[in-house]
Amino acid sequence: MMQQPISFYFDNRIVRVADQPITATVLAWLRGAVRRTGTKEGCAEGDCGACTVIVAELADEAGDAGGIRAGNLVLRPINACIRFLPTLHGKALLTIEDLAGLTDRALHPVQQAMVDCHGSQCGFCTPGFVMSLFATYLRHQAAQTTPDRAAIAHDLAGNLCRCTGYRPILDAAARMFALPPATLDTAPIEAALRAVAAETGAGLSYAAAGQAGPGARFYAPREVDALAAWYAERPEATLLAGATDIGLWVNKRFRDVGDLLYLGDVAALRCIEREGDVLRIGAGATLEAAWAALIGLEPALGEMALRFAGPPVRHAGTMGGNVANGSPIGDAAPVLMAMDARLVLQHGAQSREVPLDAFYLDYMRNDLAKGEFLRAILVPLPDPDTRMRAYKISKRFDCDISALSCGLAVTLEGETISRVRLAFGGMAATVRRARHAEAALHEAVWGEAAVRAAMAALDEDFTPLSDLRASRGYRRLVARNLLWRFWLETRSAAPLPAASVRVRTFAMAGAV
C-alpha cells in the first residue's frame, strides 16, 4: 500500500503531517509542532483531563455508538496526551482554541458560563474542563435535554481540578444551557472528511519521512481481513486500539512498540449487535459503547460503567483492549466472566472461540497465539432468573484503579441456585472465578447459611497481595463482605435497595 501523510481536519482545514514519529502524541504535536498551547499537559497518562480535546469522525459507519452525534459527525472527548497522532487520519480535531469561533460573541456559552460562575482559579485545568463541558453541551443540544447535576459530575469524572472544589464548575455546566446558544456547523468538517476518506482507500499506511523501515510503520486498514492478514504476517507488530494502555507504555516507560497496527478504523470491529441470544461486542467498540450495551442487558452494571475510568478514556479505549490486555485489576473481565462471556479470536482467516474464564493463563499472559487477535466478545443474554451485581472498590469513587472488583451472578430455580458465577479482580494474578465459593452456593438455597459458607470458602480461593491500594486483609474481608452485600441486594425476602447498601447511590438518591 502507498505511503500517505496523516491527513485530518484541524483549524478549519485539512492538514497533512508527514514528519512525526508514529508514537507522537496529539498533545505533543499540538503544543510542539503547531504551538497551539491552549491544551495542557497535567500528567501525560490520561488521568487529569487537562489535555481533553474532541475528535470527530463521519457517522456513516458503524462506529457512532457511545459517541456524541452532531449532524453526520460523531464526536468524542479524548485525552490528547495518550492518543497517537496517526490515529487522527480521516478525522477532525477540535481544541479549546476552536470554541470562540463557533459564536459571534467573545466567548462560547460554555466559556462564558465558566467566567460567570468563577469556574477557573489557576486556570490550568480549565481548557480541559471546557472541552469536556463542550461535549456535554453538544450531546444535550442534539438531544434537546439538559443534564442534572449528577450527570454533569459524571461527565467531568475524567477532569481534575485542584483549586476550585468543583462547585462553580458544576454551576457553570448548568448555566451554559441558559445562555444564548452556539451551534457547531458540521457541514465543512463532513465535506473535508469525505474528501480524505476518498483518497485514503483501503487504509492509511504511514511512516515518518525518512523512517519507513521496520519498527516505525503505522498501518490502519479498514477491513478485518486486511488487518488479520497483515498481523499474521508481522506478529511482532503491536496491535493498537484506544492506546489507553499503550499510550502509557510509551509516555512513562519509554517502551519501543515497533510497528503499529491500528484497529480503530475497521468499522466491522466496532459493531455491537445482537445475534440470537448473544450480544456480540466487536473488539474495537469503545468502552463507552460497550458498557452502554451491557447496561442494556443488565441495568445493575450502571455504577461499574460509571466508575470505569473517566469519559475521555472510555471514549478512546476499547473493551476488547481491556480484556486482551488482561490486567488482574481490569474491571471488564469480572463482569464479563460472571455473564459467561466467550471470546472470538482470529488468526489470518481462522477464528476460534474460547470461554473468557479459560483465556487468562497467568499474570499478564493469555491464550492469544502470535499474530492472533481478539475479534469480538460474545455475551449471552441474561436469563430472567439470574440475579447479578458488579462491585468495584477503590479509594476514590471516580476513575480509580480497583483494589478489588467483582461480577457476581446466581441463577435460581425456585430458591435453589442452579448456576453461579463469582468472578473477582484484584484477588489473584489474573481475574478469575472463585470456584470454592461457587461450589458452596451451587445447588444450595439462596439464603444466609449458604452465603456465609461461600464467604468462608473465599479464603480457599484467593490469597491476595498487599499493595498500595489495599492490604491482603482488607481485600479478603471486603471480598467476603461484597458477597454479603450481593445477597442483601438480591435475596428474595426483603431485598435491600442499592441506596441502603451503597454510599454513592444513597448520596445521589437524596440530598440532605
Binding site: 481544541t95 486556570g123 481548557p127 467531568l156 471516580d398
Partner: protein
Amino acid sequence: MNQDFSPDRAACGFARDIPLVLDAGEAAALRAGARVGISAAHESAHLHVAGAAPYVDDVPEAAGTLHAALAPSPVASGVLRSIDRAALLAMPGVVAVLTAADIPGANDCGPVIHDDPILADGTLRYRGQPVALIVATARDLARLAAARIGPCLDIEPATPVLTAREAYARGDALLPPASLIRESAPGALTAALAAAPHRLGGQFSLGGQEQFYLEGQIAYALPTENQGLRVLCSTQHPSEMQHLIAHALGWRSHQVLVECRRMGGGFGGKESQSGLFACCASIAAARLGRPVKLRLDRDDDFIMTGRRHPFEYDYDVAFDDDGRITGIEATLIANGGHSADLSGAVMTRALCHLDNAYYLPEVAINGFVARTNTQSNTAFRGFGGPQGALLIEIVMDRIARHLGRDPLAVRRANFYGVASRNVTPYRQTIEDNVVAALVDELVAQADYQGRVAAVAAFNRSNSVLKKGIALTPVKFGISFNVPHLNQAGALVHVYADGSVLVNHGGTEMGQGLNTKVAQVVADALGIGFAAVRCSATDTSKIANTSATAASTGADLNGMAARDAAMTIRNRLADFAAARHGGEAADVQFANDVVRVSGIALAFATLVRQAYEARVQLWSDGFYATPKVHWNPKGLHGRPFYYFAYGAAASEVIIDTLTGEVSLLRADILHDAGRSLNPAIDIGQIEGGFIQSMGWLTTEELVWHATDGRLLTHAPSTYKIPTANDCPAALHTRLFDNPNTEPTIHRSKAVGEPPMLLAFSVLLAIRDAIAATGGPGADPDLRAPATPEAVLDAIASLDAIRP
C-alpha cells in the same frame, strides 16, 4: 463636560467586553463606584477559558533551546561513588550530562538551612534524588537518557530510615527539637494531669499530602548579556529563586532576573521547591550558553519533590466533668524527609495552632522534625497549622465520647474567651475572637441539632450504612511567623492615556491575588476594572520580595499597591485643584470620572493634562505589617497580626461492609473580614475545603516499606477529589466581620484557614464509625480515612460483623 464615560463599561470586568454577573446589591455598589467588595471575575478568567492564558511552557521557545531532565537515584540511601557519563553522552540528542562537580557555586538549594544539595554530592538521601542533569536537544531524549542512568552509577547502598517513628526512636532530627510550654506555675501541667478527674492519652497518625498543582514544576533559563540570565519559572517565590540561582552559579543577585506571570497552582509546593529546577535549568543554561528548559514529568515531580508533612502524635490530656481541658501535653513528630527545607517554620506553625479555637490552661507541646530517607517535605497550604489543629479536634471528640456528651458542647466549653481565657500558649492575647458567635450562627444555619437527631434516627434503622455528623471551628493566625518577611512592594504606572499597569511582589497561582490587587488600585483611582492590568511578577521590578505564602498575598501586596496608587491619586488631586480650582482634599475619583470644583472630567483627560504639566504618574508603594514580633527561642510573642475564623458542619455516610465514605452535605461559615471579592473568597474557601477533605480521606501516600520507593507517584495511584466528591448540598457563606485591624479595606486573608474546615468531614466519619459500636464507642481512626482505614477503625470497636 462628561467625556468618555459609559456606565456600561463600568459593569464590565477585566475583560472590557464581558459584563460581570453580580447580585443586585453588588451591581448597585459597582455602579455607585465601588471596586472592592465586588465579585469581579478573575482578571484572567476570559483567558483561562479560551486556553489563552500563557504558563511558562506556553511561551514560545527561543531558537536553540535545549531541554533538561533529572536522573533519579535508584536507592533511598547509600554512597554514590561515581557516575560513568560516557554511555549517556552517546545516546541520541544528549548534549551534556552534568553532576554536582559541574556546579560552579554552591551545590545547595536549601531555603533556610544549607543542607539541600541540588545534585547528589556523594551521599544518596532518597529514592528519586537527582544525581545528574541531562541536557538534550529534545525533552523526550533527555528524559529517556535520564531513565537509563541506573547502569552508569556506582553505588554502595545502605539501609534507609523510612518512617518518622523510627527516626524519632533513634533521635535523628533535622532541626533542634522545639517545645512550646505555658504553665501557670512551674510543674502546673504535671499537677493538672495528675489531679484530673478524667484523663485520656493516645497516639494519632496523619498522612502527608501531595500538592498536585495541575501545572508541574518548570523553569526556563535564557542567557542574557554580560553573564546574566532571565529565568521564567513557575514559582511562588521569585526572589528566592534569584538568590538560589546566583548562589549556585557564584554570581550576584543582579545578574539574575526571575519572572512569573502565573502558576497552574502552587499550594506551597512552589515556594522553596521550585528552587531545584530553577537552579538546574540555570546551571545548564549558564554553562552551555543556550536557553534550557526543565519541565518535569508528573511522575518525576512526585518522586523528586516533597509535600505536606505527615505527622505522628503522642498526647496526654486532662479534663473536668464538662470536658473542659485542664492540661495537655503533646508531642508532634513531623516527617521532614531528607533535608530541613521549611520544616522548622512548619513545625512552629503546627505548635502555634494546636490550640485552634480552644483555651489550654496548662500546656506543653513538643515538636520533633524527623530525618528520613524520603523526599524533603515542605510548605503546603496551612503550613503545619492544619497538622497542629487537627490533633485538638480529635482530642475534643474523644473527650466528648468519653463523657457521653455532644462533641459540640465540649468544644464550646473549651472555646477561647473574649475578656478572659484569651491568651494563647505562645502568649499572644486574642483581641478579635468571634468564634462563639460564628459557631452559633452556623448551628442555626445548618440546623445542627435537628440533624444530630436525624442522624441518630437513621442509624437506628440502618445496619449497613451509618451516618455521622460533626461541626468544627477554625481559628488561624495570619502573618509569617518570621516578622521580617511581613513586607511587600508594588509599582503602579498610570500611562498618559489613563490606562494603568500594576506590578507587585506577590505571585498569581489561581488565588486571585492579581484580581484583588487590581481591584484595590481601581478603587484608589476611581476607574473601571478594564483600565487596570496586572503584569508578571519580576525580580527586576520589585526587589527582595517575600514568598506568596502564609495567606498574606493580598494583605501585603494590596496594601503596597494601594500605597502606590494613593500617591498618584494625591498628585492628581493636587494638580486638579491647582488647575481647576477647589481643594485637593475635595477632589473625587469614581467611575472613571474626576469631580473637581463643580466640574467632571474623564480620568483619562485629567491624566493627560497632568502628564503635560509634568506630574509624575507612576509610583512605588511599600507596606510592612505592624505589631508583629516573635521570640524564636522561647516561642512566644505576637506572631500573628490577627486571626481568621470559620466553622463547618459536615454530614457523611459510611458503608460498614467496605469502608467507603460519601460526604452528603456541608455547611460552611467563614470569616474573610470585609471581603475584597466575595466570589474569589468563596472560591478559596470551597477549594480549600475540598482539597483538605481529599487529604483526610482519599489522598494516601504509600512508600515501599523497605526500598523507599514512592508507590503513589501519579494521579493513577494518588487520588485527589473529583467533581463527584463535591456534595450537591454545599452551602458556603461569608461571616460578616470587618477586621479589627486596619488591613486592606478591613479584609482578612483567606488562602489557608479553610484547610481546617474539612476537619468536620473526618470527625463526621469518626462519628459514623462510633455509631457501629455501643455507647461511648471511641474508634481508633487514622487519617486519611481511606475505606481500609474506616474498616480498621470499625474493627477497633469490635463491632458486630455479618
